[in-house]
Symmetry: C2
Subunit: 217 residues, 2 copies
């Protein structure tokens, strides 16, 4: 085990010791594969075989749904303490992922092999709670996505998207292009520019090249 991994182990303990019992943390260290993945890479892709589930130690992963080549939609973000719960039963059933997970901010992650999961559910109460909570949180975020798509106009959906992004990045100056926003919202660049201009006129944002400053959040 190299020094980078033992560093990751420290991070695991640091955050998760308040959530998981010591025995569980020991188990995770025993069987988990620690990895660092740089921004821009895929954590998981649609159709990919799920043999491990990821436990995020740091960084941000954007979870997307993709219909085809040029139709996609950002759903939610994974941060420290999150796992892609949907991969869980998929794992057990040896199914394939229905999401793409793109690393937005370099992540440190532990991959846990599917075999241990079910065992841990029985063995560790905190693990049980963690998995159920994960499912629940994702479910709530899905409902949020549905509300946005069903009930909101694009302009407000976009503002919501921007504000969410501010929360995730901890930074109210977003480093993003109109095209990227359009991709995440399954809209088009021209429309996004139009709406952004309106938001700017309402003093909710300010625009710079490659940047958007969110005033109200």
């Amino acid at each position: 085990m190299n020094s980078q991994n033992s560093n990751l182990q420290d991070k695991l303990s640091e955050y998760y010791s308040s959530i998981f019992e010591k025995e569980l943390i020991d188990d995770i260290i025993k069987v988990g594969r620690f990895e660092s993945i740089e921004s821009g890479n895929l954590l998981i892709d649609i159709g990919q075989d799920l043999t491990h589930i990821p436990l995020i130690l740091s960084g941000v992963v954007k979870i997307m749904r993709q219909e085809n080549e040029d139709e996609e939609l950002a759903l939610y973000y994974l941060e420290r303490g999150d796992t892609c719960a949907i991969s869980f039963v998929n794992c057990i059933d040896h199914k394939r992922s229905i999401f793409r997970g793109i690393v937005e901010k370099d992540v440190e992650v532990v991959f846990l092999p599917v075999e241990v999961i079910d065992d841990w559910l029985q063995k560790h109460k905190t693990w049980r709670r963690f998995i159920i909570d994960s499912y629940h949180l994702r479910l709530l975020e899905m409902v949020d996505a549905i509300d946005g798509l069903a009930f909101m106009k694009l302009k407000n959906r976009m503002l919501k998207y921007l504000i969410e992004k501010v929360k995730i990045t901890q930074e109210n100056i977003l480093d993003i292009t109109h095209q990227e926003i359009a991709n995440d919202l399954n809209s088009s660049r021209v429309v996004v520019s139009r709406m952004l201009k309106q938001l700017e006129q309402e003093n909710k944002i300010e625009m710079r090249r490659n940047k958007i400053i969110i005033e109200s959040f």
Copy 2:
């Protein structure tokens, strides 16, 4: 315990004995409250306190999301073997429901008090699997709803809705008005009539007063 309830117990055993171990079924009978609810009534409403989770023995419940007075959206249906998994953690946390559940076809249901749930997760392997599976199924249905909203035109979304309805009712002659469809899709009656006419011209459906016959499913 009256005769109706012992009848419901039979139904419980009948279907669930292949899923749950005998001890679990006994536990359910011990603490569950058996009930029959007629079509048109609410199984659960948004904001309602969740002290029990429902286990459907027969019938159909439509789960909806509501934004306000006249904005709502049908999400999915619960049938025999289903539970409203989202109510699960809500229960534990004493939260309130974020869904409405309307009985579409008279249901028979067992209500299980929240207190026993966590205990059973540890005690019964099949219960654990059941709860996780429930979350997972709902999650998949949400993704389906998202795909529909994000990527499909209303006409096709409506056809999908109608076909889903055929599956649920086991009946390709649907007893439904244009207004009801509009409500479930968060659209308007006039638009629905328009699209239905198009679908009819494409020979995918036939229209009658209060009825729609689905040809292709």
